[in-house]
């Protein structure tokens, strides 16, 4: 029977906090990739070119229907067979960015579809170009609709970063595993990892709710 050892906690905490930094970097970087790439994937499905729409739609479906961990393995272990050799970090960011981009593209799509048709018609009647219609009229209105989903996936990507440990990215989970196998004590490192995740997830979710309200206010969309 194990007992909780505070001295061990203080001993491993600095290592875990350093690893937290990597976890945060991985989350923010992966999310940034996903945000931009997701928008590209969403807009690519709205062009007049049917073939492009179809191809992107199928790609998004494919990525959403296969496990993230498989995609990470694929980029890291299979790409080199085709001559593309990438570091664990690069592989991880590509896989996680692409994975979440396909989820976010669906969130964006729902946001864009949520803007009433009359807004598009007003833009056309005022002769706004397609680009200005999107960036000045439609996307600002789609944003409040998409924000809750975007917030969920921010927390989601953060909680999925431990999957990067399988290819050796030194994030929290990887570090906790290393500590466990070195000292044969798993209770403290895993508990601390859980607490650290909780300590970051909860305020992030609250922050996103605040952001939603702030965006609605800034856009004048409150009654």
């Amino acid at each position: 029977m194990f007992h909780w050892r505070w001295d061990f906690v203080w001993q491993i905490l600095p290592d875990l906090l350093r690893a937290t930094e990597n976890t945060l970097i991985a989350s923010v970087l992966g999310y940034a990739i996903a945000l931009v790439l997701g928008l590209v994937l969403a807009l690519a499905q709205r062009t007049p070119w049917q073939a492009l729409t179809w191809a992107v739609r199928e790609a998004v479906e494919f990525i959403r229907s296969t496990p993230l961990v498989l995609q990470i393995f694929f980029v890291f272990y299979v790409f080199p067979q085709f001559g593309v050799r990438l570091s664990p970090w690069t592989s991880g960011m590509i896989a996680i960015g692409l994975h979440y981009a396909s989820y976010l593209s669906e969130v964006y799509r729902a946001g864009l579809d949520g803007v009433p048709r009359g807004q598009w018609e007003a833009c056309r009647a005022l002769n706004l170009s397609t680009g200005r219609t999107y960036f000045r009229i439609i996307i600002p209105q789609a944003l409040p609709i998409a924000l809750p989903g975007m917030g969920n996936y921010l927390v989601g990507i953060f909680k999925d970063t431990p999957m990067l440990s399988v290819i050796g990215v030194a994030e929290l989970m990887h570090t906790a595993n290393a500590i466990g196998s070195e000292y044969y004590r798993y209770l403290e490192p895993y508990t601390l990892v859980g607490l650290i995740f909780l300590a970051i997830s909860l305020p992030t979710a609250a922050g996103m709710r605040w952001l939603e309200a702030a965006v609605r206010r800034a856009l004048g969309m409150t009654k």
Binding site: E121, A122, A125, L128, R132
Partner: protein, 270 residues
């Protein structure tokens, strides 16, 4: 008649501001408009009335290029809108041709369609700045002027959510005017309004009709208003004009049996 045989442009001394020439619109098997011919003179105020499903809103939507057409040609100010000349023949217009011709036409919608994330003033300034490329100061001046015209200078920094329906519709009118169109389309502009604010919107339209050089095409259920303000009234039935004439003639002495039925039903309902 094939589209290729329509003239590339209208010439002559008294060309209409708008011409529908053999315009047909189908949704799948349903023919909404069946070979419509309609000329509207410059500065003319034409009202379109008729039962729902008679194709009257479709007429406006085609003229705003919100709908494509299946046959015929629409001309605005002598130039083809739905088509463009190529090698001496008319071919379906591409987006850049439509964008150019669409500049002549403005539209006010039943549900206002104001941009909710912009103030009344920003709504009016958006297209003049982004489409016409006006300097902000000039667009602002023009917009403030128009908001004054519709009686909303004290509301110009409000977002649409804070305005009543009647106020929102007046902003929408100012927004459309800010692009200085030659043809103004009014699509059931009072249908979504509470009865007590309909009057303020009608007053603005009255003023425009009197003081502005503007060709107006209005779909409406307000028979009294159509009678008062129109130069001509067109009664639509089953995808075409069943009867048209001056308001006095059409409301006072309708000839077509369908017109009589419709007017009786509408007047009974009031």
């Amino acid at each position: 008649m094939s589209v290729e045989s329509y003239p590339l442009e209208l010439t002559g001394s008294d060309i209409p501001m708008v011409r529908f020439a053999g315009v047909t619109k189908r949704y799948g098997p349903l023919t909404v408009l069946d070979s419509l011919d309609l000329d509207i003179a410059a500065n003319e105020m034409v009202s379109i009335i008729g039962p729902s499903g008679s194709g009257k809103t479709t007429v406006l939507r085609m003229l705003m290029t919100l709908e494509t057409i299946n046959d015929g040609v629409i001309y605005v100010d002598g130039q083809p809108l739905t088509h463009m000349p190529r090698n001496g023949k008319l071919v379906p217009a591409d987006e850049s041709h439509m964008r150019k011709q669409r500049m002549n036409v403005g539209m006010v919608f039943q549900h206002f369609n104001l941009f909710p994330h912009m103030t009344a003033l920003e709504n009016c300034m958006e297209a003049p700045v982004q489409v016409l490329g006006l300097p902000k100061a000039e667009a602002r001046e023009r917009s403030v002027e128009l908001l004054k015209l519709v009686g909303l200078e004290d509301k110009m920094n409000q977002h649409p959510a804070r305005l009543s329906g009647g106020q929102q519709q007046r902003v929408a009118i100012a927004r459309a005017l800010a692009m200085r169109p030659k043809v103004m389309l009014l699509d059931e502009v009072t249908s979504a309004l509470d009865p007590e604010v309909i009057g303020e919107v009608l007053n603005v339209i009255r003023y425009l009709n009197k003081e502005y050089k503007l060709t107006m095409l209005m779909v409406t259920h307000q028979m009294g208003f159509a009678k008062e303000i129109s130069d001509r009234v067109c009664f639509f039935f089953a995808g075409n004009i069943a009867e048209q004439g001056s308001p006095d003639q059409l409301f006072g002495d309708p000839q077509n049996e369908r017109t009589k039925q419709f007017l009786r039903a509408v007047l009974d309902a009031n």
